[in-house]
């Protein structure tokens, strides 16, 4: 899956004016931005097979869908985790937590976080602005609902299978029934053996009589 090019240019138009304004104020963000210059960070979204490359230049961030040179750092996370990182005060914990994979020069990711923190952005407002009238809470709720739906479907399917197996198991003979049937079969074999022996004895008794005739 690839993002449309128009989304990339729209993202640049949204992000870069804010970045340049913040950089002019010569705060913590400026120092972090200088450290990032010239680097390329790749963001991969798990589940969607989506990637986004961010090239950091002197005048801002530039986004691409693909690139042949390896990125300086990369991060693999679900869309939900990206959203959490963007809106949480403990983004570092999520970044280096068990659900997110990182690689390359991971220090660049920390510097990126410092930069974002230094910008003092109201990420919720930004996301709301980018997403249109849909409030951020609805986006988060939407992700949660999708996940819950997935879980419910999986649970329902496994319950159905178990119920089916139980029903089918009910018509099969139980352990005791097998023993009873086994005993009955053994008795029947013994009866057949006795009958065979009886027939042989009668045949022997009949042979002299048949010979006299």
């Amino acid at each position: 899956m690839q993002l449309p090019l128009s989304v990339l240019t729209a993202l640049e138009s949204l992000v870069n004016p804010l970045l340049r304004q913040a950089i002019l104020q010569e705060g913590a963000a400026t120092a972090a931005f200088k450290k990032l210059q010239g680097s390329c960070i790749e963001f991969q979204v798990s589940g969607l097979n989506l990637q986004l490359r961010m090239q950091v230049a002197e005048d801002g961030f530039y986004f691409y869908r693909q690139g042949e040179a390896p990125a300086d750092a990369w991060i693999l996370a679900s869309a939900q985790d990206y959203l959490k990182m963007a809106t949480s005060k403990n983004a570092n914990q999520i970044l280096f937590g068990p659900n997110v994979s990182v690689g390359g020069n991971t220090h660049l990711l920390e510097v990126l976080q410092e930069l974002l923190a230094g910008l003092g952005l109201d990420t919720q407002e930004l996301i709301t602005r980018a997403a249109g009238p849909l409030p951020l809470a609805s986006i988060q709720a939407g992700f949660n609902q999708l996940l819950q739906l997935g879980e419910r479907l999986t649970l329902s399917a496994s319950e159905d299978i178990k119920s089916y197996l139980d029903d089918e198991a009910g018509v099969l003979p139980g352990k005791d029934s097998w023993h009873v049937a086994e005993d009955a079969l053994h008795e029947l074999r013994l009866d057949v053996d006795r009958l065979e022996a009886r027939i042989n004895l009668l045949e022997k008794q009949l042979q002299p009589i048949a010979g006299e005739k």
């Binding site: 010239g38 090239q55 230049a57 002197e58 693909q66």
Partner: protein
């Protein structure tokens, strides 16, 4: 015009002109539009030209340390972006035959703080003043249709590419959809010259633009030309229903 004269003519839009005159006429067009070039690009393409160029960058494979040549680079859109990608260790050369366009490009890039890894060269695409096997990537965006001898230019680009290097040609082409083709004709021959007149005070140059697009080779023909110039694995990508095509070839 005699047969001999006809043999030495080429097209300037829909007009047949002597070969030596085409260069002057094209120069006249770009001298006229240079100061309004970026504005007109945005207006005519409704900003879509930025997406076409972004796609070109994605397919260029440019990385840190590369040497890149941007031919007919004009006002430096692609050069600016290449400059970011190649870093301090790399080099980007913005080449254009037209001094007015080159000046606008240089001023624009310097004003934006670019310059460390960029050089500016006035050069003719048919006789590029660079050594053999020199560049990792060469691009020519919306410039090839203005070149008089395209085969000669393509051969020279292949000459100066490093083995493994790639040439990208971004150019207007033939729409693949008949409905789009009709809409495009109407837009090109009516709206563009009018826009040119209102915004740049020059409708003739924008009429030339529309005509020159129609005289440019179509996708398959240009692909063959690139193969004949010595490039391999040539492929093209249509954008906006074939209104623009990006051709890419490799020197193996």
């Amino acid at each position: 015009m005699t047969q001999e004269q006809q043999d030495k003519t080429t097209h300037f839009g829909y007009q047949e002109v002597p070969v030596e005159e085409k260069v002057k006429r094209v120069a006249g067009v770009f001298d006229s539009v240079a100061t309004k070039y970026d504005l007109m690009n945005d207006m005519m393409s409704m900003g879509i030209h930025r997406l076409w160029k972004k796609f070109t960058l994605e397919l260029s494979g440019v990385r840190k340390g590369h040497k890149v040549l941007d031919i007919a680079g004009g006002t430096g859109d692609l050069t600016m972006q290449f400059s970011r990608l190649v870093g301090e260790e790399g080099e980007v050369i913005l080449a254009d035959i037209n001094a007015s366009m080159l000046k606008v490009g240089r001023d624009r890039l310097l004003d934006k703080g670019y310059g460390g890894n960029i050089r500016f060269v006035q050069a003719n695409a048919e006789a590029l003043p660079f050594p053999d096997n020199h560049f990792d990537v060469i691009t020519i965006a919306f410039g090839l249709r203005n070149v008089t001898d395209k085969d000669k230019a393509l051969k020279d680009m292949a000459r100066i590419l490093k083995p493994g290097g790639r040439l990208l040609v971004l150019e207007f082409s033939k729409p693949t959809n008949p409905l789009m083709s009709k809409a495009y004709d109407l837009y090109s021959f009516t709206a563009l010259p009018l826009m040119g007149k209102l915004l740049a005070g020059d409708s003739d140059s924008y009429r030339y633009l529309a005509e020159s697009i129609r005289m440019h080779p179509d996708q398959e023909t240009l692909k063959e030309m690139m193969i004949n110039a010595g490039l391999s694995d040539v492929e093209y990508h249509n954008m906006t229903s074939g209104v623009v095509a990006l051709h890419r070839g490799f020197k193996l």
